[in-house]
Amino acid sequence: MKRKWISVLLMIVMTASMLAGCGSKQDSGTPGAEPDNKAAAEKTDESAPADAKEVNISFYSTQTGIDDTYLDIIDHFEADNPGITVEYIAAGDDQLQKWMSLYASNEGPTVSLMDPINIWENQDRMREMTKEDCPWLDNILEESLVSYIYNDKLYGIPMSAAGYGLLYNQKVLDEAVGGTFDPASIKTRSDLEALFKKIEATGAAGSMFTGVNWSLGSHYLGALVYGPARGDVATRDAFVQAQKSGEANLIDDSLFNGLMDTFDLIAEYNYNKKDPLVGNVNMDAEALVTGKAGTWFMGDWAWVYLADLVAEGDSFGIIPIPYSDDPDDKFNTSIPLSYPKGYCVDASQNTEEQQEAGLKFIEYITSNEYAQKVSIDVGGQALPYKNCTAEIKSPLGQATQKYISEGKAYDIYDGSVNGLPSDFWYECGAYTCEYLAGACDRKQLSEKVGSYWKALEN
C-alpha cells in the first residue's frame, strides 16, 4: 500500500519537475530588456496563419451588463467581414486595472471602449482618426465628438448619449399635480419645491438621492459645478486654477451655492433621508417604479434597472436640475448630457492591419442597422449616429432624445474632458456623501474640495 503511494508520488514529482523545467526554459530563453512593443505585436501577428488577410483583433468593453449584445454584434460583424476575428474582453468594476494588465502583457486591445478621460490620459497610445481613414466619420454627430478631440486630433467615437436629471414616475406625478405632469413646468428651484410638496401630499417621498460617490461626486458636484453653466472652457479652467492656488473658494461661488440649495432641497425630500448613504441603485429603482418616491436623481442609463420592474402602462421622464430661482436661466430647463464612453483604437501594440480592422469594427457598430438596433434595445439610450433610425423603447432614452432635439441639453464636458482629474469623483464624491449624511456643512465641504485642488498643485 505504502509502496503504491510512493510510486504515485514519484510520478507526480517527475511531472511537476518537468512542468517547472518548462517554465524555467521559457524564463531564461528570452534574455534582454523588454522588446519594442510594436515589433512584438508584429511578431505575434506573423505567427498567426500565413494567409495575410487573416486578422485577429480584440475589443475591450468597459460597459458592463451588455456582454451578450456585443457578442451578438461581433458574430454579425465576423459574418460580414470574413478574415477578421474579434476577441471580446469584458471588464468588470476593475476597468483601469484590467486595461493596464492587458497592456502590460503586450495584449493592448485593438479597440477599447473607455471613458473620455482615460483616452485623453493615454492618447500617446491611441490612433488618430481622420476623415481619410474613416470616411464614415460623417455619420457621427459633430457635437458628440467634442469630448474625444484633443489638440485638434480625434481619438474616439462615442458609444451613446446619456442624459440625466431627476427621473420621475409619471403616474405618481400626475396624481400629485392633479392632471398630466409636464416637466417643462419646472423652471425654478421654487417650482421644484412646490412639486415635491405636492408629491409628498400623496404619501410618496418627493425625491431621492442614491448616496454613492459616482452619482453625487461626478454627476452632481463635478459635472454641474465645474460644467458648462460656469462658462466656456477658458473660464472653467481659470476657476480650477484659482481653486488650486487658493484664490477661489466654492463657498463664495454663486453657482455652487445655487446648486447646493437645490441639493439641500432634494436631500430634504429624500426617500432615503433616514439612512442616505445606503446607496443601492436596485432598491432605489424599485422605489421609483413602485411609486414610493416620485423623483430620483439618476440618468437614462438606469433603464437597465427599471426595465425588469415596470408594468404595462408605466411611464417615466426626466426633469432638469434647476440651478437657481430664475425662470429665464436656460440651464434650469435643460438637462446635462454626456457621451460617457467612446471607442478608441490602439496604435502602440497593434499592427496597421489590426488597426484598420479595428476601425472597420467601429464603423460597423456605429453605422450598421442591426448593431444600432440591438444597442438601442438593450442600452435604452440615444445613439449619436445620423443614419440611426432605430426606435428607442426606453421612455428615459426618449426623454433625452427629446431634450437633445429641442436644443435643451448641454454637454457636461463640452471640450474640456480633462477639466476634472480621473479621481475627482472618488475623492470629492466622498466629501459630497459626507455632506449628504450631514457629517459636514457646506463650508466644510467647500474647504475639503479646496484642499483636494490644492494638493494637486504640489
Binding site: 483601469l96 497610445r125 439612512d275 482629474p421 480621473s422 479621481d423 475623492e427 456623501c433 449624511a437
Partner: protein, 293 residues
C-alpha cells in the same frame, strides 16, 4: 566535513529546496524587485513614457496625511481582528476537539466562510448589514439597528471587523485543531487523573504544546488582515466617505483609480516594510517564548 558529504548535502539541497525556491523567486522576488524599481518613476501604469524621479514618491507618501490616517485605522482593525479571531478560533477548536458529538459537522460548518472568496462574501454581508439587520431593527423598534451599520464611520469599521472575525476564525480553528490533535490523549488523561481541572489542562497541558500553532495563527492573521482588500472593496468600498479605507484598499485606489502607479507602489512598499517588521518580531517573540517553556 569531507567533500563527499558536502556533495551529498548539495544534492539534497538541490532536490529539496531549489525547485520550490526557484518557482518562488521567479513568481514573487523578481517581479517584486521590478515593482520596487517602479517606485522611483512617475509611471501611471499605462503611459509609454516613464521618468526617473528619485525618491519623490516616498516623500509624497510620508507627507500624505490620508495615508497615515489610513495606516492608523488599519492598525486598529488588525489588532481587534487578530485578537478576536484567534480567541474565538482557539475556543472553538478546544470545544470541537473535546470529544463532543457532531465534531465533523462543526469543523465543516465553521470553516465554510472560507470556501467563498472575500469579494463575494462582502456582497452577501453588505445585504445583511444594509437590509436584514435594519429590517429587524425596524420591526422590533430598535432605533440603533434601524439604520445600516455601513453608513456610519465607526460602525462600518466595526462591521468590517465582525466579518473578518467571522471568516478568519474558522480558518484559524482548523490550524488549532491540527495542533491540538498532536497533544496525546494519554497526557491529558494523566493530568486529569492527577486532579487537574479542565481549565488547568487547557492552560498547562494543551496551550504550551500548541505554541507552534499559536505562532502560525497569529502570523497568518496579522498578515492577512494587514493585506485585507477584497472584503474592504465589496463590503464598504472605503465608505462611508472614505472612513474605512484600509491601507491595501488605499494603495489600490492610488495605483489604479488615481493612476499614480509609482506612488501606489511606494505606499505598498512602505506597508510591506511595516508588516514585515511587525510579523517577524511577533514570530521571534512567540518562538523565544516556546524555547523558554
Amino acid at each position: 566535513m569531507n567533500a563527499t558529504k558536502k556533495i551529498k548535502n548539495l544534492r539534497l539541497f538541490a532536490l529539496f529546496v531549489v525547485p520550490s525556491v526557484f518557482i518562488w523567486m521567479t513568481v514573487v522576488i523578481i517581479p517584486l524587485l521590478y515593482g520596487v524599481a517602479i517606485t522611483f518613476t512617475d509611471w501611471n501604469g499605462l503611459s509609454m513614457d516613464i521618468h526617473f524621479i528619485g525618491i519623490k514618491n516616498y516623500i509624497a507618501v510620508f507627507r500624505d496625511t490620508a495615508f497615515l490616517t489610513s495606516m492608523l485605522k488599519t492598525v486598529l482593525y488588525v489588532f481587534l481582528s487578530v485578537l478576536g479571531s484567534n480567541l474565538i478560533a482557539f475556543l472553538l477548536a478546544l470545544a470541537v476537539t473535546s470529544g463532543m458529538k457532531g465534531q465533523s459537522l462543526f469543523r465543516t460548518g465553521f470553516f465554510t466562510p472560507n470556501i467563498i472568496g472575500g469579494i463575494i462574501l462582502g456582497y452577501i454581508w453588505n445585504f445583511i448589514f444594509s437590509y436584514a439587520i435594519t429590517g429587524i431593527g425596524e420591526r422590533m423598534g430598535i432605533e440603533g439597528l434601524s439604520t445600516s451599520m455601513l453608513t456610519h464611520p465607526t460602525k462600518a469599521l466595526t462591521a468590517l471587523i465582525i466579518v473578518t472575525i467571522w471568516q478568519m476564525s474558522g480558518y484559524l480553528m482548523v490550524i488549532y485543531i491540527a495542533g491540538l490533535t498532536n497533544v496525546s490523549q494519554e497526557l491529558i488523561e494523566a493530568a486529569r487523573i492527577d486532579g487537574a481541572s479542565p481549565w488547568q489542562i487547557v492552560r498547562n497541558v494543551k496551550f504550551p504544546l500548541i505554541r507552534n500553532s499559536v505562532t502560525i495563527c497569529i502570523f497568518l492573521s496579522i498578515t492577512r488582515t494587514f493585506m485585507s482588500f477584497d472584503l474592504n472593496l465589496s463590503l464598504t468600498s472605503g465608505g462611508p466617505y472614505k472612513s474605512t479605507e484600509l491601507i491595501a484598499y488605499k494603495i489600490y485606489q492610488t495605483a489604479f483609480s488615481s493612476m499614480e502607479f509609482g506612488k501606489g507602489q511606494a505606499q505598498a512598499l512602505v506597508l510591506f516594510v511595516i508588516v514585515v517588521t511587525v510579523s517577524l518580531l511577533q514570530v521571534y517573540f512567540t518562538r523565544r517564548g516556546a524555547v523558554e517553556e
